[in-house]
Amino acid sequence: MTTAAVVAPSARSARPSPLRTVRDTLVIAERNLIAYVRIPEALFFSSVQPIMFVLLFRYVFGGAIKTTNPGGYVNYLMPGVFVQTVAFGAVGTAIGLAEDLQKGLIERFRSLPMARSAVLAGRTVADLCRNVAVTALITGVGYAVGFRPSHALGFLAAVLLLLLFAYALSWGFAAVGLSAPNSETAQVMSFPLLFPLTFASSAFVPVQSMPGWLQAFAKYQPVSEVIDAVRGLMVGGVPDVSGHVIISVAWAAGFFLVLAPLAVNRYRNRT
């Protein structure tokens, strides 16, 4: 055959190795983090909402909500706020990718000899870093309004768990972002997915206070599982914490295994 005569001048191998995927992912993650640092307003405004929720539930609604956990309602509330905040943070993944798509950046990336999953992995890793920063901020706010975790190790384990869950979730919202025609629609598409998960949950009120038909959903849906696990690890007062932790990790793993290939598929086939 004649192919030998027309081999590309490039000596690089065509199939991306795992190492190259990691490298490309870090390059993309760095790019996204630069944007976060360069537009601090975005980070600021995405933190305003959780802070308002803390203040609203701590000082306005909190008095009317009866909980039995140690440390009072503020200790009940904060684990819910943590989980809700990182879950809503996943909307940022959808918006960011929809914007990249809109601006033609995804086209450029798709024409480059880079690992195909790196654009999405880089985005989700950057959003993971953002979640770390936001979690630290919310911890400070919580501390200021009287939140006291029972011990540091449990708190750290809980943070790891909620970051893991948020990371898995952000792959799902990557798929949403890649399915949306623009960033505004990506946002509009994301909220109906997140509202029932974060509000019909044990985040702000005990599930037992809800009507029976809703309890069935609210008690067993993944976000409630994570909230219960996080609450148990941070402040105690939750029966069978290890069970909730195991189920939460299973949900995170399941989400990741289903949603990551889905998102990569959307990325490849988006026209």
Partner: protein, 328 residues
């Protein structure tokens, strides 16, 4: 004439063709047929222009050739690598600059090019050096450490083109590189492209501007409704077109329409009505101008103004397709 053995011809053919497309078909959701069997051959080291109105299928063709989109039918290869079966190989040897200037607004010019370099597997230091060199070459050194959102349209296009060149690709795709640019930015971008071609890069560019195609391209294909309707050098296309256009101005669109009816009884030349201007495509050196004026004079119609013009892209489309470039 001595006939060469077939296999030798084949070898020569493969080695000299940089981009080859055969019967590319692409239909989008909703039944929009973007490509209806496009075949192209671009010789190595040449500049090939894909000329056509918006929606003709130019961008779709480029997206298939750059592996971004899969064709529904047909095949294409870049330097012998099949775009569907060997997309990774193709990506390693092409550069793409698009009409939407795909650079990250939040990053600086330097960061953009460094990122692309790293994604093309250069080490960070080398990527940085390459980025600095390209910024210098594209006259962007002063803006290197400013976020791209502060750049002008022309600067963005230059950066976008630089981004396509980071990996020094032997084959470059430019999708409407100068659309929407002011004349000064356009001609400075043309100079850059000419330099590249001088260095041996094969370029496929899409454009709506005949002037651009005229200046840059060795060969052209005119594409409309997803099909190649004419191919050749710019000079050939112009000659085929019949060279000139007679513009007749009338006092009102109604009068121009009346003039068209009168003229069409006696002339076979294609005519296009644009408000109160009647455009008649005429062969160079033909008697059509004199004939047209005589017919009008016989009908006691006097145009308020007239001019004989060089052909424009619109005339190419009018002659080839029977509709103007801005109509669908």
């Amino acid at each position: 004439m001595i006939l060469q053995p077939a296999v030798t011809c084949y070898n020569w053919h493969m080695a000299s063709v940089a981009i080859e497309a055969r019967d590319l078909v692409k239909t989008f959701k909703g039944g929009v047929r973007a490509l209806a069997g496009v075949s192209l051959e671009v010789e190595r080291g040449s500049v090939f222009g894909l000329l056509g109105p918006n929606g003709a299928g130019k961008t779709t063709a480029v997206r298939i050739l750059t592996t971004i989109l899969r064709p529904d039918g047909g095949s294409a290869a870049v330097l012998g690598h099949d775009v569907v079966k060997q997309p990774a190989e193709v990506r390693a040897i092409i550069g793409l600059a698009g009409q939407y200037a795909a650079v990250d607004e939040n990053l600086t010019g330097l960061e953009n090019l460094r990122m692309i370099g790293q994604l093309c597997q250069l080490h960070r230091k080398d990527a940085r050096r390459r980025a600095a060199g390209l910024l210098e070459q594209f006259d962007l050194s002063e803006a290197a450490s400013r976020p791209v959102k502060t750049y002008s349209g022309g600067m963005r296009r230059r950066l976008d083109l630089a981004a396509a060149l980071v990996d020094q690709p032997p084959v470059l795709f430019l999708d409407e590189p100068t659309t929407g640019l002011d004349p000064f930015s356009r001609s400075s971008l043309w100079q850059v492209i000419e330099q590249l071609v001088g260095g041996g890069t094969t370029v496929l560019l899409t454009t709506q501007y005949l002037e651009e195609a005229d200046r840059l391209c060795d060969r052209l294909a005119v594409i409309d409704h997803g099909q190649v309707i004419a191919e050749g050098t710019a000079a050939e296309l112009k000659a085929d077109l019949g060279a000139n256009r007679l513009d007749l101005d009338f006092a009102s669109p109604e009068e121009a329409e009346k003039a068209r009816q009168v003229l069409s009884e006696r002339l076979t030349e294609p005519m296009n009505l644009r408000e109160s201007v009647l455009e008649v495509t005429i062969e160079a050196g033909s008697r059509a101008v004199i004939e047209a004026l005589r017919v009008l004079d016989d009908a006691c119609m006097v145009p308020s103004g007239m001019a004989v013009r060089e052909p424009s892209l619109d005339d190419v489309f009018l002659a080839l397709t029977g509709h103007g470039a801005d109509e669908q």
